[in-house]
C-alpha cells in the first residue's frame, strides 16, 4: 500500500539521473569521500583479522624446531636469511623517481588540455622531448643495461 503511494507521487522521469541528496551537512562531500576511503582500509584490515581469527579456532598449533626452520630446498639453511644481495636496478630506481615526478606534471595538463589549447600542447611537447632526450642519454650511456 505504502509502496503504491510512493510510486504514484514520483513523476515518471526516464531522463537523467537525479544527483544524490544525502542529508548530512556538517562534513563536506570531499572529506566524506575520504572517510569512506578510510573505512575501506579499515574493512580490509578487519577482513584479514576476521579470517585469521576464524582460522585460529580450527587450526592446530604445535610448532617443532624443524617446522619453524626456514625453507631452503629441504636442507638446513646456511647462514642468515638476510643475506647480502646486489640490488642491480638502483639506477633504474633513480630513473623511476624522475619519470614518476614527470607523470605528476603530465596528469593535470592532460586533464585540462582542451582549455590550454595549442600553447599547452607546445609546452608539453617540449617537456616530453626533454625527458625523452634524458632517456636517450641514459640509454646511450649504458645505464639501461643490466649490470
Amino acid at each position: 500500500m505504502g509502496v503504491q503511494q510512493n510510486v504514484a507521487q514520483i513523476p515518471v522521469d526516464l531522463g537523467s539521473a537525479q544527483p544524490r541528496a544525502v542529508a548530512f551537512a556538517p562534513v563536506s562531500d570531499f572529506l566524506r569521500e575520504y572517510i569512506v576511503v578510510g573505512l575501506f582500509g579499515a574493512l580490509a584490515f578487519g577482513l584479514v583479522a576476521a579470517f585469521i581469527g576464524l582460522a585460529s579456532i580450527f587450526r592446530p598449533d604445535r610448532p617443532t624446531a624443524d617446522k619453524v626452520e626456514n625453507y631452503e630446498s629441504g636442507v638446513d639453511p646456511v647462514g642468515s636469511g638476510w643475506s647480502q644481495s646486489q640490488i642491480r636496478y638502483y639506477i633504474f630506481a633513480l630513473l623511476f623517481v624522475m619519470f614518476d615526478v614527470e607523470a605528476v606534471f603530465i596528469f593535470p595538463w592532460a586533464a585540462r588540455l582542451e582549455d590550454l589549447g595549442v600553447f599547452g600542447l607546445v609546452e608539453m611537447v617540449i617537456f616530453i622531448f626533454i625527458l625523452a632526450l634524458g632517456l636517450a642519454y641514459a640509454w646511450r650511456k649504458g645505464v639501461l643495461r643490466w649490470v
Binding site: L14, A17, V22, R32, V36, P60, R62, W146
Partner: protein, 356 residues
C-alpha cells in the same frame, strides 16, 4: 516494470551511515565474489582444458565447490612463523597487500549512482594505491628471513618500479581524450563522445587508444606478477618467492589479494577503455531510456562483470601460454620499448585532441 524504471531506489533516502554500511557490504561482494568466480573459471577450469585435462571434478557438480574445499583446507592449516622471521612485519604483510586491493576498488563506478565514492582524481588515486601492494610484498619478502623470499621481494620491487611508469603513462592518453581524472566522467565521455560524427556506440577509448590499451594490459600483467612477468614468484626456481614461508590463512590472503587485484585492474581497464558500466547508446535508444537512467544502477554491475570477465580472460590466456621473461629482459622491455611508446602515444593523442 514501469515503477522500477521510474522510482528512486530505496537507498536514496537512507542516512549516511546506513548508506556507507551498504557500500562496504557491496565492496566485500565486489571484491571477493569475482575473485572466486575467476579462480574457478580460469585458474581451475580454463587452464585444465588448455592442458587437456579436466581439472577439479569431485567437489560439487563439475568441481564448482572446489574453492570452498580449498578454504576449508587452509582453515585447518597450522599458522607457522619461521623462527628467524621478524614476527610483526611477517604478520602485517598480508594486511597491507589486501589493503591495496580494497583501496583500489574504492574508485570503480558500477552505475550512474552505484559508486563507492566519486573522487575527482579517481584515476590518479587508483594508480597511487595500486603500488601500495609492493610495500606488502617487500615486507613479506624481507620479514621471512629466507633467501628465496628475499630474492622474490627484491625482484618484485624492481619489476614494479619498471612497470609502474608504462601503466601511468598509458592511462594519460585516456585522460587527454576524456579531459577529466574522474572515472565516472570518463565513462560519461566514452558514452557521449562520437567517432568522427558517428555516435551509435559512443567512443569506447579502446578504439582510439589501442596502443594505450595494449600497454595498459602488459603493465597490469607485470604489476600482478603474472606470467610472463612472474620472476618474483617463479614457482620452479624461487618456490613462490615472497610467499614461500607463509602457510594456512595468511597464505590464502596473498592468494585472494592476487586474484582480487587482477579483477579490480580488469574493472579499471573496463572503465577506462571499454566504456565502463554503460552500454552502447544505440541500445539504450532502442529501449527508449536515457543512457544513465536509474535502472543502470542494477544493470551496470552486470555489464561491468561481463567486461571484467573478458579482460581477465586475456590475462589468464596470456598467463597460461607464455614462458617467463628473464629479469634483464623485462627491465629492458619496459624502459626501451614500453616507455618510449607510451610517451609517443601521449604526444600523438595530444596533437589529435588540440588539432581536431
Amino acid at each position: 516494470m514501469t515503477a522500477l524504471f521510474a522510482t528512486d531506489f530505496f537507498w536514496e533516502t537512507w542516512p549516511w551511515w546506513a548508506d556507507t554500511i551498504f557500500r562496504l557490504i557491496f565492496a566485500i561482494v565486489a571484491v571477493l565474489l569475482p575473485a572466486g568466480a575467476t579462480v574457478y573459471l580460469y585458474l581451475f577450469k580454463m587452464v585444465s582444458f588448455m592442458q587437456s585435462r579436466l581439472g577439479p571434478m569431485e567437489a560439487g557438480p563439475y568441481g564448482s565447490m572446489q574453492l570452498l574445499a580449498e578454504v576449508g583446507k587452509n582453515l585447518q592449516k597450522e599458522d607457522i612463523f619461521p623462527a628467524r622471521a621478524d614476527r610483526t612485519v611477517f604478520a602485517m604483510a598480508p594486511y597491507v597487500v589486501l589493503l591495496s586491493t580494497f583501496l583500489l576498488a574504492v574508485v570503480i563506478p558500477f552505475g550512474p549512482e552505484a559508486t563507492f565514492i566519486d573522487l575527482d582524481t579517481g584515476v590518479y588515486f587508483a594508480l597511487a594505491v595500486s603500488s601500495v601492494s609492493v610495500i606488502g610484498i617487500l615486507m613479506a619478502g624481507w620479514a621471512s628471513a629466507s633467501k628465496y623470499s628475499l630474492l622474490g621481494g627484491l625482484r618484485a620491487a624492481g619489476q614494479l618500479i619498471a612497470y609502474e611508469l608504462p601503466l601511468i603513462l598509458a592511462v594519460v592518453g585516456v585522460v587527454i581524450q576524456a579531459g577529466t581524472l574522474n572515472l565516472q566522467d570518463i565513462v560519461t565521455a566514452q558514452n557521449q563522445q562520437e567517432i568522427f560524427g558517428w555516435g551509435a556506440i559512443g567512443n569506447p577509448f579502446i578504439l582510439t587508444q589501442m596502443l594505450g590499451f595494449i600497454i595498459f594490459l602488459i603493465a597490469v600483467q607485470a604489476e600482478l606478477t603474472q606470467v610472463p612477468f612472474d620472476m618474483p614468484i617463479a614457482e620452479s626456481e624461487l618456490v613462490s618467492g615472497y610467499m614461500t614461508e607463509y602457510s594456512g590463512f595468511r597464505f590464502l590472503m596473498f592468494f585472494i589479494a592476487e586474484f582480487a587485484t587482477a579483477n579490480i585492474f580488469a574493472f579499471l581497464g573496463a572503465t577506462l577503455f571499454l566504456g565502463g558500466w554503460s552500454v552502447p547508446p544505440f541500445l539504450t535508444d532502442l529501449l527508449g531510456i536515457a543512457w544513465d537512467s536509474p535502472i543502470m544502477n542494477l544493470v551496470g554491475p552486470f555489464v561491468m562483470l561481463t567486461k571484467m570477465l573478458l579482460l581477465t580472460f586475456i590475462f589468464y590466456w596470456v598467463r597460461f601460454t607464455y614462458p617467463r621473461f628473464r629479469e634483464d629482459q623485462l627491465q629492458k622491455f619496459a624502459w626501451k620499448v614500453l616507455i618510449p611508446l607510451s610517451l609517443m602515444n601521449i604526444a600523438i593523442t595530444a596533437v589529435f585532441k588540440v588539432v581536431f
